[in-house]
Subunit: 434 residues, 2 copies
């Protein structure tokens, strides 16, 4: 391993003081940040000139389904249930290990090229996703998507698959890969299943990645079935806690926010997916105001259709402003926190990642501002949130290793990954008769 | 001039049948498209290989304030009136001809690099904007922003400035530059002023570019002042007609849509600006359903903060879906029409631009799909609207001339334009004490 000095950039630390250091440098030794400041004189094996660039923590995508990149653009502009029943689910039946590996590699490549250094995933064939993450060099928090569908037999096999992933992949790739349990949602998992998951998560000391209150339909369904809205029901059965990562979290009224706050639940905002599927708007400003560290995620590429966390930040800021008819509803600084330090907090990794601070892992990206749409440079946080896109990220370092330099990814053969994904995606469509 | 053959791409024609030709080619002779189809065998001076690329009409940005690129990111996340009164207006006092030229050049460069071949502008020092457009190679429909503020004297000088622009710039640059009158809005121009504009526009045979019903405040203000909501008031005085380009058009209830339809008014949707300033949501699906060819625009970079029409399409589709809580509210195909053929219709240029058809001007862009976030390729319209960004455009032809090839812009020295814009923007902030 090497010492890397990143020199003379706009260092957006995302530390507790939200310091921005103009002409700042960052020194990396082995996998960690060892110095941050102006005029660092230390020697290094690799010196990266960050002139005209933003140096910031890598983005953390707290909710996605990585291999769904294979289904990007195969079905859009449809109602949720027909979209799932006639398009997504029939196609997913044609997934296999090889195909998931191809889709996950494509997703990991896309994340590197758009600034995401860590992500939380929930899908199938997760051991294959782990291989792709291992190769990519980024961090992944992986969970197997447990879907029970009212079958006690399936419950056992699904729980076993979830447990198998935790046992086989926790701590892989030098600790870059960790795991969670991934019960899909309160309408696809029974109370028994959720409580068993809770017990297993406690046993293994890992988190729980789930979907909560994504649609009005779910809200009504749970209310009908259990006599309480989703968050209230999940709290009553004792499922909620600080280890629960709750994607979407839209329909929380009347008491959902205070329950989240009291239990330490970690909601993940997915603005693009929620907009594209016409689901609704999560009460993000209210949750932030109450001290909940709301994180950000792209959801899968079938409902986004990218994994671009920089563009997702713009959507988050703007959706919440128009929803509240207030331009101050969600400022750029808050959104940048959601995509970095809040993400780290939500994954229980705030001591390791999410900001540029001495002692933390060196997960850092550089955003090149020397472009027409990023000129003039006055407020770099505004530029990152409102003007940049993923393609403006030009360098990525994770765990102290350079994964991309000048847009060239060093851990994948880009053309090969693209070709393989195209091939397996075409095979799936053909087999499914689509 | 030369013959150009664009070979073997996904040709998205946007013709009346919405044809998409896989492995299609386009032949350009002089400034016009002379053939579109598969297997074109004609010879050409320049052959452009469009393998793995979308070949589509250049995007038409129907509402912006180009030189406001100088104010990109200087003020965000503020209420509209303090934003204007304490930031934008004080800074605009420090505009001059040189600075507007610099800002307009930056804007034109940004538009080329993100696929916009034609735009409608309303601002000041418009002769300078015309020079930048002339140099850039793209098309501009320019108007001087008439702001009267209840002064009869100012009214005369503003109208004179508007008329001067029309007389001096109409038809410039081989017809690439045309003009309109640009009365700012019903709350900044009197009835007398608007009617004088209407008369002048008729005299010169040009259009009128204005803002209508952007905010609830304006709606209430006009109602208080004239006893009718903005669209009704403008109709009553005889201002509305097919030559009126109406930016924003949010607060149209109760009769605005039918008035627009009856008068042939051309509304422009500006989703990012409307979201960022917390203004509200225009009834776009309803207008499209009634047969109004709603166009798309970015507004100025101070309230967006880019001029990226591809990203604007994604915002348009998604904003309208979440607002209606329906994923079918505004499909990708409709949004692509808004950004191309509807834009041409709204500017009165549908016989010349807006689609790839024989006899039309050769205003064409190529979007490179060989990227992780645009893989796999199944539905290219979905990819352009939901997955691409401006930076994926790699080639631009306007009026039969290549303006950008492989992301290299041929009409501007990119680094010089960026440096000049940074310099004058810093001067303005310094002079304004910001």
């Amino acid at each position: 391993m090497t010492r890397i000095l990143i020199r003379d950039g706009y260092v957006v630390t995302m530390n507790p003081k939200n310091q921005i250091i103009k002409g700042g440098s960052v020194l990396i030794d082995w996998d960690k940040i060892v110095a941050v400041g102006k005029d660092l004189k230390e020697s290094a094996d690799i010196v990266i000139d960050a002139g005209g660039k933003v140096v910031m923590p890598g983005l953390i995508n707290c909710h996605t389904h990585l291999a769904m990149t294979l289904l990007r653009g195969v079905a859009d502009d449809m109602e949720l249930m027909p979209w799932l029943q006639t398009k997504i689910w029939p196609l997913e039946k044609h997934l296999n290990a090889e195909r998931v590996r191809a889709g996950a590699s494509l997703g990991a490549l896309e994340m590197i090229k758009s600034g995401t250094t860590c992500f939380a995933d929930q899908y199938f064939y997760m051991e294959e996703v782990a291989k792709a993450v291992d190769q990519s060099g980024i961090r992944g928090v992986l969970s197997y998507g447990i879907i029970e569908m009212e079958s006690a037999e399936k419950r056992e096999s699904e729980l076993a698959a979830g447990e198998k992933l935790v046992r086989s992949c926790q701590g892989m790739a030098n600790g870059r890969i960790t795991t969670m349990f991934g019960p899909h949602a309160p309408y696809t998992c029974s109370t028994e299943c959720l409580l068993k998951v809770k017990e297993l998560a406690r046993k293994y000391g890992v988190g729980i990645h789930t979907h909560i209150a994504e649609t009005k339909w779910e809200y009504d369904e749970i209310k009908k079935k259990y006599g309480a809205h989703p968050v209230e029901y999940l709290d009553t059965i004792g499922f909620l806690g600080p280890e629960v990562l709750a994607a979407h979290s839209i329909y929380l009224a009347p008491h959902g926010i205070s329950i989240y706050k009291n239990r330490g639940v970690k909601p993940v905002h997915n603005p693009v997916s929620n907009m594209k599927l016409g689901c609704g708007v999560s009460p993000v400003p209210e949750m932030l105001k109450s001290g909940i560290p709301v994180a950000l995620g792209t959801d899968g590429a079938a409902s986004n259709n990218t994994l671009d966390m920089i563009n997702e930040m713009k959507f988050a800021a703007l959706l919440n402003k128009v929803y509240k008819l207030s331009p101050t509803a969600l400022p750029a600084e808050d959104v940048l926190k959601m995509a970095t330090i809040n993400g780290a907090k939500s994954l229980g990794m705030e001591k390791e990642i999410g900001s540029i601070e001495v002692g933390k892992k060196a997960d850092i990206i550089l955003v090149d501002l020397k472009k027409p749409h990023l000129t003039p440079v006055h407020n770099v946080v505004s530029h990152v949130v409102y003007s940049a896109v993923g393609g403006d990220v030009d360098t990525m370092i994770v765990d102290g290793k350079v994964l991309m330099q000048n847009r060239k990814v060093l851990t994948f053969e880009e053309a090969q990954v693209i070709k393989k994904a195209q091939d397996v995606s075409e095979e799936m469509l053909k087999e499914a008769g689509k």
